[in-house]
């Protein structure tokens, strides 16, 4: 039975191969540029492989040695990689909470047919603008503004708000606040636009009928916009989370790669960068990347499940 079917198919013209050909470039480039490096990373994580000066050490197989080194607590009982991971998540949350709150608000305002805001195009471009600046350039700008002899300190002193230079770039709270607000500024425009697209994808008739039924704006927001926006919102949240876990350039530039103060602003990728610069320590960097991959996967699953559960009928 099956054989005859197969024969018949072969005789007919099959167009499905074109579909495969058209999607092939993605898969080919994915395999070359993403999958292969990923597999190599895992492979490298089992080897001692670094440079001491210009001398190559290894690769020597060490099994799980790199992971063990990474997860061994120091004399004070702190596991660095977990501390850095905590720093990273904290910095992400500090930036992401205002980012999503403001983005949601703006997205609702911009898409509201009742308000029908004028000059939306301009507003959208402006809020998107900070994202176009290179993160490192933006960090340099903030560095120039907030350093000890920068204009912010001068302004605060001349207006009498403080009587002594405030070291914004050393005090833990202010460094974190600066990093978080930079991330917020850079990304809220992007999130707004993604969420607007999501809201505009919701059937307008639902809003209209809710209005006719006398639902207030809050009611509409929580019972129509938010549940129907959930797929997009969770997508935006997960991408932001993944971006957050990979946070690097802003804290790197602001703290000159040192995570000042007390490595409280060292992120995981900054640690990765320390492994890779100078000694090209592919072993440790590989192990760290694999750990990060696993953590990212788990967290993304968790966020996705939580959000899906809440609004699934």
């Amino acid at each position: 039975m099956k054989k005859t079917e197969g024969k018949r198919r072969r005789k007919s013209v099959s167009y499905s191969k074109w579909a495969y050909i058209f999607i092939a470039p993605f898969f080919i480039s994915y395999i070359i540029f993403t999958l292969t490096p990923q597999i190599l990373t895992v492979y490298n994580s089992f080897f001692e492989n670094y440079r001491d000066g210009l001398t190559q050490i290894g690769p020597n197989f060490v099994g799980l040695g790199n992971y063990q080194k990474l997860l061994t607590p120091d004399s004070a009982g702190v596991i660095d990689v977990l501390k850095y991971f905590g720093n990273t998540m904290l910095l992400w949350i500090l930036g992401a909470v205002p980012q999503f709150a403001v983005a949601l608000l703006l997205a609702v305002i911009f898409t509201s047919s009742r308000l029908n805001i004028k000059g939306q195009g301009l507003a959208k471009s402006i809020i998107y603008m900070p994202n176009l600046i290179m993160a490192s350039a933006f960090s340099m700008l903030v560095f120039a503004l907030f350093n000890n002899i920068g204009p912010v300190n001068k302004l605060l002193i001349s207006t009498g708000l403080i009587d002594k230079t405030f070291d914004f770039l050393t005090v833990k709270v202010s460094v974190r606040a600066l990093i978080a607000s930079m991330n917020f500024l850079m990304w809220f425009g992007n999130t707004t636009i993604v969420l607007m697209a999501g809201i505009m994808g919701i059937d307008q008739s639902l809003f209209e009928s809710a209005e006719i039924d006398g639902a207030g704006s809050l009611h509409v927001f929580f019972d129509i916009t938010l549940p129907l926006l959930m797929p997009i919102l969770s997508y935006a949240l997960i991408t932001s989370l993944i971006g957050g876990i990979q946070m690097f350039d802003v804290p790197q530039v602001i703290t000159a790669g040192k995570g000042t103060p007390n490595m409280a602003n060292t992120t995981v990728i900054m640690m990765l960068n320390n492994f890779l610069s100078i000694s090209k320590n592919y072993g440790m960097a590989g192990a760290l990347s694999v750990l990060l991959f696993i953590i990212t996967g788990i967290l993304s699953m968790f966020v996705y499940r939580q959000m899906a559960k809440q609004y699934k009928r």
Binding site: D52, G53, I57, D80, K258, T260, N262, M263, N274, S277
Partner: protein, 440 residues
């Protein structure tokens, strides 16, 4: 299928043509033996400026610069990558010459990525300072490069502040008041009483101590060693910050340099000739004049509490270069060409690596450095240069020194306790240098 075949054939034909056209080009290069592009790696614009002003590039050769900042080892990273790809790089992209600092020069001289310059035609070292040749030689004594400067360092003091604090601005008298660390610390208290800063950065004196250590940063068994001299520096820095004798700004921070401007409060900086003619931006130079912060002439130079040298830029010959003749010519020019060396002193306030030229200016009563109020700095450096020995250097010096300063200052600022600061420093080194053992 036919189409595929024809496409493949077309591709093959094109490729083989490309192959043909490439061959004569390389053949042509062999004919004149020199590459068309002279590629130099550097970490700042200092040497580039001198090179462009004083070196006549042979016709038909263009010079290409790759400049990567030194901080945090970025320059070494970029350079290592380029050197490791040297063999497979196209002729015009090969590194021909690169600059290296005292902090990491041994890493390159002891590698196969540099070549013997005597074989290239740089043979006359009769006028250079011995330590500059030692530094550029590998363990077997093969010379791999030259330095265009000699870097004895001294104490650069502000004349007007010295007048106010010590009652004199004469170099000999100032030196008598500052010729030991005890005296230096005492004067710091006097300066603070008058509202001045002894130094502008907690790390100002770091290089004086680190250049006078008994042991290298990393010993033979790859253990990190904090030398007693470094401990003394830490104590001094702590004391200075506590008493407001100095600032917690880093040595290169704009905040520290700003104290050298017209209304600056810092009495002392430490450094060699390049420090005041290249690094003290707010005090000297066109920009300073434009901004009105210029303090030219209000400075003096003395030996200070302890002799030391700091930095220096070596030109190293990269192995596999396709411009060996030009490498030799550049090196010979900057160590042996009297006119160029004289220009470096007269116009650039350098202390050159040519003893004869230095001696000429040191003996010249007409010569004086305008930055230093007409003082003949070359004469003083000539004395100081005699004592320089290049010793206790390792591959790791740059980050060991920089890292200690940046993590220790967190303690000075009161963000962490001393133990944590040191622990963070060790962690930093562990991440950067897996081969180096730090104290537990």
């Amino acid at each position: 299928m036919k189409k595929l075949v024809s496409i493949l054939t077309a591709a093959m034909i094109t490729l083989s043509f490309a192959g043909c056209s490439a061959k004569p080009a390389s053949g042509g290069q062999e004919a004149d033996a020199q590459g068309k592009v002279f590629h130099i790696y550097a970490w700042n614009e200092e040497f580039k400026g001198f090179f462009e002003k004083y070196y006549k590039v042979p016709e038909g050769i263009t010079v290409e610069w790759t400049i990567v900042p030194n901080e945090d080892g970025q320059y070494q990273d970029a350079l290592d990558l380029a050197l490791m790809n040297q063999e497979s790089a196209a002729a015009d992209e090969k590194v021909d010459m690169f600059l290296a600092e005292a902090d990491y020069i041994v890493k390159y001289t002891n590698s196969e990525y540099t070549q013997d310059i005597k074989a290239l035609g740089v043979t006359d070292f009769s006028n250079t300072y011995k330590y500059t040749v030692d530094a550029a030689s590998d363990a077997n004594g093969v010379v791999k490069g030259v330095s265009f400067q000699c870097c004895p360092a001294g104490l650069i003091y502000r004349r007007s502040i010295a007048e106010d604090v010590l009652g004199t601005s004469d170099p000999a008298e100032v030196q008598a008041r500052l010729d030991s660390w005890d005296k230096f610390n005492e004067v710091a208290a006097l300066a603070a009483e008058k509202g001045y800063l002894m130094t502008a950065s907690y790390a100002s004196t770091f290089r004086v101590f680190s250049n006078n250590t008994q042991s290298p940063w990393v010993d033979k068994d790859n253990n990190l060693v904090i030398d007693p001299a470094i401990n003394t520096w830490m104590e001094q820095a702590e004391n200075f910050v506590k008493n407001n004798y100095t600032l917690t700004a880093g040595i290169w921070d704009a905040e520290a340099m700003a104290e050298s401007a017209k209304d600056g409060r810092a009495m002392c900086y430490f450094g060699p000739a390049w420090f005041y003619n290249f690094s003290m931006g707010p005090a000297f130079g066109e920009d300073a004049v434009k901004e009105g912060t210029d303090s030219t002439g209000d400075w003096g130079l003395v030996e200070g509490p302890q002799a030391h040298f700091w930095g220096g830029t070596w030109l190293l010959a990269a192995a596999g270069s396709d411009n060996p003749e030009m490498i030799a010519d550049v090196m010979n020019t900057f160590i042996n060409d009297e006119e160029v060396c004289s220009n470096l002193i007269e116009k650039e306030a350098q202390f050159t690596n040519n003893q004869a030229v230095n001696a000429k200016f040191a003996a010249d009563p007409e010569y004086g450095n305008a930055y230093l109020g007409g003082q003949n700095d070359t004469a003083l450096f000539l004395d100081l240069a005699k004592n320089i020995k290049f010793q206790n250097h390792t591959n790791y010096d740059q980050l060991c020194a920089e890292g200690l300063q940046t993590y220790f200052v967190e303690y000075l600022k009161g963000e962490v306790d001393k133990e944590t600061a040191m622990k963070n420093y060790y962690k930093y080194l562990n991440e950067k240098f897996p081969a180096v053992h730090t104290p537990e």
